[in-house]
Symmetry: C2
Subunit: 340 residues, 2 copies
């Protein structure tokens, strides 16, 4: 069993820096496009054999140090009966948005074994197939709230922020419900065989630090505290939130490319592992551009234990597979340690 990721998350020495990619099971792979076809993501997740195959595809292409289960952050939301579609090129769409206390009441607690048996079945099947740790994940409370309140992806998250600031009671109920769902979802995935979990609060970086600390952090903490497996907490554009996010209790913080890793690590504290942070857009350029940028990431990470190499956000669909293949090799070669 390749345990580089687990060791890095515990900040133990590793023989090579572990590397995986957010959205490594994705459209940049022709075999992914072929297998998924026109299937909605939520539909694909309901077929465990398909989810297993999509999860395994990138591992056959390159020696990644982790698998990440093919799923979507909206799976548990769909599973508790909120109507959700994932529209191609758009993202999650919620036809009947949640904008007040009555809406929040529609969010019943998640009972993973009965509500999302297929998602858990995929993890159980993968457990037998894998020689690397499997990563399960959930959406963070702000990100889930934004999709539910806005009814879809949003540039400014204005309705969500307005609800947060105008109606703290309804907001707290919404956060309670979403934190409960996210936590139940992570615990069930760990139980089913996920060795690591990641909380994707992708859009939390849209908040000022004050609003994040007052209105999101307490619930992220509730999701992450005392989990049975190591955890990673990720968001985009979180430069000013890195310190508070570290306070939510994960083993590692995922950082986007906007903050150099050494600076990010200072904000997070060196008692945590760090994940990141190559710009996914760079991976769509020529290999020499990728190589230069990846080298810089490794330099900024330095020789300290506890770095997990990743992109700063998900792999873009037009990324050449060879760039990622060469990137995995580069990370492993450049970080090879005799004493690991």
């Amino acid at each position: 069993m390749n345990d580089r990721l687990l060791r890095a998350l515990r900040r133990e020495p590793v023989d090579r820096t572990p590397v995986w990619f957010m959205r490594q099971a994705g459209r940049y792979l022709s075999e992914y496009r072929e297998l998924r076809g026109d299937r909605d993501i939520l539909e694909a997740v309901r077929e465990p054999e398909v989810a297993v195959e999509l999860t395994l595809q990138p591992l056959r292409r390159m020696p990644l140090d982790a698998a990440v289960v093919f799923a979507d952050i909206m799976v548990p939301i769909d599973a508790v009966g909120i109507g959700v579609r994932i529209e191609p090129g758009v993202g999650p769409v919620v036809d009947d948005p949640i904008r007040d206390a009555a809406g929040v009441a529609r969010l019943r607690p998640l009972e993973p074994e009965t509500d999302e048996p297929h998602a858990l079945e995929a993890i159980r099947l993968l457990r037998k197939e894998l020689s690397v740790p499997l990563i399960g994940f959930a959406g963070g409370p702000f990100t889930l709230a934004s999709y539910l309140v806005e009814g879809g992806p949003s540039r400014d998250h204005a309705r969500t922020k307005a609800m947060m600031l105008e109606d703290p009671g309804a907001w707290a109920s919404l956060m309670d419900a979403l934190a409960g769902i996210a936590r139940a979802h992570l615990l069930a995935q760990a139980e089913a065989g996920a060795k690591v979990v990641q909380l994707f609060d992708s859009w939390a970086g849209a908040l000022s630090p004050e609003d994040y600390e007052a209105s999101v952090l307490p619930w992220s903490r509730r999701v992450l505290e005392d989990l049975p497996v190591p955890s990673i907490h990720f968001g985009v554009g979180t430069g000013e939130l890195l310190g508070p996010m570290a306070g939510a209790g994960s083993n590692a913080i995922g950082v986007d490319w906007r903050v150099p890793l050494d600076r990010a690590w200072e904000r997070i504290g060196h008692d945590r592992a760090i994940q990141g942070n190559l710009d996914p857009a760079v991976c769509t350029a020529s290999w020499s551009a990728v190589e230069r940028a990846a080298t810089r990431v490794l330099e900024r990470a330095g020789a300290r234990a506890g770095h997990v190499f990743n992109l700063g956000h998900g792999v873009l669909p037009n990324t050449p597979v060879e760039n990622l293949q060469r990137l995995v090799d580069l990370v492993h070669e450049r970080t090879a340690r005799a004493d690991g």
Copy 2:
């Protein structure tokens, strides 16, 4: 003449902190929607009387300390013959994107008096009408490049970044051309009567600090150096770029809501003025939420000379006018100084 803005940009004492809003001439005003109707923004700019009226509308609603000329960052791009449309709800669309050296060659230098006489005529007309300084503006080199290379708004700016990293020669030519156009546009506006100019490099925050410093900053500096009027340099999500941006030479740096002003000012240096930084999404909420957030902005700015109150990005279309009216009053009342 109300000179609070000019004094604040020179970091001189003021009787009240000056306040204006990015996109204060905008859809949140019913009289704006009525006058603009279905007219394309670029079309409206070609009618100086319309542009003048749209510029003046917000000043009749509230005692703002500056006017900002009704225009668009794509005006000078359109003026040099690149086909641009501003699509409602989308943004600038360029049908024939620029992606290589041959494309860059289509960007001829701007000759403001012959290429954009209407835009300059609006400024000359406004000069006679105003008792507050008029702000002219231009798009920053990365932001203009992104619209031209992507062909429209982009989430990830991947083609732009790929061109920047793969083809430094073509990129430098593109930046040369765009910096030349932006500078000519700002100089012509100052000549016509703009008392202050702002460089909107709105999307520069999508870059890592290394890429920004190597591939954008030199050209921003070229636009901003030795301008005949005070300047403001603005972008969104620029937490890690504030220091480098200050190095481009503007009098003030515009900051979004993600970085508290006291922290931002440390990064910028106290020898510069600062502009910002209320979250525009907050202005769509109840007045009590706006009041709390605005109070926090003023507290973070402190008593130091050189603060220009603004939002952290443009006014959102669904902002209640009363919120902005009360906000202007709040800023003036809370910052009233007997010795100003």
